[in-house]
Symmetry: C2
Subunit: 133 residues, 2 copies
């Protein structure tokens, strides 16, 4: 039957979707951020190593993503004054804790991508019947 457990249930607290939370969530949930952090979860990497590991990312986006992550205290940037220059990126302790969460998210997506693709096809089929041109 209709279980109408009146909305006395845990009401979502408004102060948990404040501007700061929203902003951080926007960056942290970003697709390139997820890939970057997950890849860095395998250990420190150099710039071009990361670029090769993250399929489809442009140099510009990798730079911007890394810069933002560094600013947010999630990755460190270590420059070795050699020739040619070498720059290592690694997760901070804070980044390590984020890794766990993002790895879960990434795994969920990987595991359910097919089901979602099928759901989309089914939805589009239903819509197509409703609106024949």
């Amino acid at each position: 039957m209709l279980q109408r457990h009146t909305e006395v249930t845990t009401e979502f607290r408004r102060d948990e979707c404040n501007p700061i939370t929203r902003d951080v969530l926007t960056r942290v949930g970003d697709k390139w951020t997820v890939f970057t952090v997950v890849v860095l979860g395998g250990g420190p990497k150099r710039f071009n190593e990361l670029k090769r590991s993250i399929d489809g990312i442009s140099q510009r986006m990798l730079t911007l993503t890394l810069r933002t992550l560094e600013r947010d205290g999630i990755v460190t940037r270590s420059v070795f004054p050699t020739v040619p220059p070498r720059v290592d990126y690694a997760l901070t302790p804070l980044g390590m804790t984020l890794l766990r969460t993002l790895k879960d998210l990434h795994d969920w997506v990987s595991s359910n991508a097919d089901e979602i693709t099928q759901a989309r096809a089914a939805f589009d089929r239903r819509s197509a019947v409703q609106q024949p041109l």
Copy 2:
């Protein structure tokens, strides 16, 4: 079976950041998606209930977010032909599994928003010293 064993050494498998995964991740990690799914984790909600619960979301974005989630098989949309109309949104079983992950992400952000804010301030201070106009 077409198992490509090239570059087995790489910890991160390339086919795990394929276009589909990337696409799903882009949507699922979206800030409004996270808030919407987390709020729906508290039970079915009506359109305006959701709108009131998600601070700062516009009607347009709520509509688009819900439509996408419905298409992806993550939420259901139940229309009650009453006057005035009533539409309930709820998580599907697939949505329930996503909820766990997104709740973690949301909680991580809530817990670490302050630390990140401070990291940003520190980073900006360091940068400011380097570039005095």
